[in-house]
Symmetry: C2
């Protein structure tokens, strides 16, 4: 199989009726921008005929939506890749995707899959791929034992600031915040790299990273430190940003210590969704704790929260600004509204870390 | 393959010259006691002729040490299992073990392996096993996707105290402390179960648990909560003890939040090795923080340290008692010396949790 990092090219992205749902966040990431895939079309029968950027963010992106793979390929010709653009609960491949996957493979189009349900474990798909020469790219498939890295104290030699972008819960916009910070750095002639830790980060083209949730626990710290060390060695970096996963206290999978301790991130940008009350929106999972207590927990690990980034989903602009002001006053740190105002204000905060 | 939980019987345990080293901790666990395996002999050419219990703890255990598999089987006949009794750095199978493994398989003796290097990935061993009908039991081999559990809020319905036995570092005696507490409970007519999270816990016969470090990160919280929920449902338990792994701030693999948050352990027994200064004894990995700061970190997660257990390796009895007194005074919690005095004193502390 081609190495994961070598995959890139033109793509159709399939969201199959789920484009307006959180589960389609892989599709959303590819619509917003990727250096790995050139997204020619989105396949979604529910939104066919519209522009994908308009449906997602109200911004024209020049990415048409087709009702089917057949319709898209008739209009645009075949792409190099078909990307499964959804992350379902439990990572199972939805049945309605299989017909389209088979059609793509028959025509020699490689399929990229970020679910825990691996295409390579479906003998019929494997046979089709072998016949046509298409690839089955299961990006969430765990690496082999011999390809995994152990943690190394060489992380302590990385001499540029390492900043973890952590969240108060999953799906609050950690990756998007990290991407915005990276872009703000570029604009200001600062060289920052984001270490990806999820499939969408990889799909968007991040060069260094690993897929946190499908790594054997013993190797998470090693894969993370290894990616940071490699990025630091190969690029002349001013800052290293770490894409957070889940949250420190989300009960379905607490993450955070790995970034702060194994990744030696002494600085944190914390992402908070103003109107989100319960972990993963389930009342039975429990209340998301206060931002103050999260900052204290991060401090107990020896790291400092340098800024707060707000996800203002469901807020009016007035509410968003009020939340920003109140939190900034209470916490005494800069508070950003990335979607409303950008994150340009992080630049002086970052520059201070280098003084 | 036979299900992992159904494996049990007579065994030779191979430590191959490493019996006096920390890496042989699987062998140490089996010498000290197991409900899963009846250890007939230890195979270790360096200590051949001695009693394994005498070498390990200075206590006769009636387990002879033989220089080779051939010598042991000539004296005692064939066992049902050969257990690889070492955990090497990186989990690679040491070459010197292969000859013995082949010999065992040829004679139809199943081999139990707790390394990340799976026997089933060695075609020659697989062929030998298939020929003789022996099993290759790779206990650290990750479960298949469909056999893994997701976290469930049913954990909040578990109505007996859940106590995590966590450590200030790896290999300080968490499992042993948990086992001692369980035994103290039994003596006092209290029913406690230890949820195992490592291969040695499984080898010693714990009924509920999973192997933390070889679980895909996304499923750690689910496997843990599932084991706790199952133990609570099937047994009439007064207490559930969780075997900790690594430590909250060991950089090579910080663990802890999973127990406190996903496993809902509101109580912690903390294990501290008095004379251990650096994580994993490597100065370059950094200083182990103070016990006070660890208790504060655990509190920031919303859990309480109810007792401290001291590993007094390298201490005289006077030093051990002095450390116990000083820490007890400073921290205001009971401090135990398990090897010197047992952990009987935990019983009133546990009883208080039920009031």
């Amino acid at each position: 199989m081609t190495k994961r990092m070598e995959v890139s090219g033109t793509a159709f992205v399939m969201s199959a009726g789920m484009l307006d749902q959180k589960d389609a966040k892989t599709t959303h990431g590819l619509i917003r921008g990727s250096e790995r895939f050139q997204t020619l079309a989105v396949i979604d029968d529910k939104f066919a005929g519209q522009d994908a950027g308009m449906v997602l963010d109200g911004k024209e992106k020049g990415i048409p939506i087709y009702p089917s793979f057949a319709a898209a390929s008739e209009a645009l010709g075949l792409p190099q890749y078909l990307v499964i653009g959804v992350a379902t609960v439990g990572g199972v491949l939805p049945k309605q995707f299989l017909t389209t996957i088979r059609m793509a493979l028959e025509k020699g189009v490689s399929v990229v899959n970020g679910l825990h349900d691996y295409l390579q474990d479906h003998p019929d798909l494997l046979a089709l791929a072998q016949k046509s020469g298409a690839q089955l790219v299961d990006i969430r498939k765990p690496k082999k034992f011999e390809d995994l890295s152990f943690w190394s104290e060489a992380i302590y030699q990385v001499d540029c600031p390492i900043i973890a972008v952590l969240g108060m819960d999953c799906a609050v916009g950690k990756r998007t915040t990290a991407r915005f910070i990276k872009e703000a750095c570029t604009k200001n002639n600062l060289n920052a790299e984001m270490i990806f830790t999820g499939q969408t980060g990889w799909m968007q083209g991040a060069k260094y990273g690993f897929i946190f949730d499908s790594t054997l626990n013993d190797f998470v710290s090693g894969e993370l430190s290894n990616a940071i060390i490699a990025a630091h060695k190969n690029e002349a970096l001013d800052y290293i940003l770490l894409e957070g996963q889940s949250s420190l206290r989300n009960p379905s999978g607490p993450c955070g210590a790995e970034y702060l301790i194994s990744g030696n991130a002494k600085h944190v940008v914390l992402v908070h969704e103003v109107k989100k009350k319960y972990f993963d929106d389930h009342e039975s999972w429990g209340l998301i704790p206060s931002v103050e207590s999260e900052i204290a927990l991060i401090k107990a690990y020896g790291s400092e929260v340098i800024a707060l980034s707000l996800n203002t989903s469901g807020c009016s602009l007035v509410e968003a600004k009020a939340a920003q002001q109140a939190l900034s006053k209470d916490l005494g740190i800069p508070v950003f509204l990335p979607l409303e105002e950008g994150v340009e204000g992080i630049i002086p905060v970052l520059k201070k870390l280098k003084q």
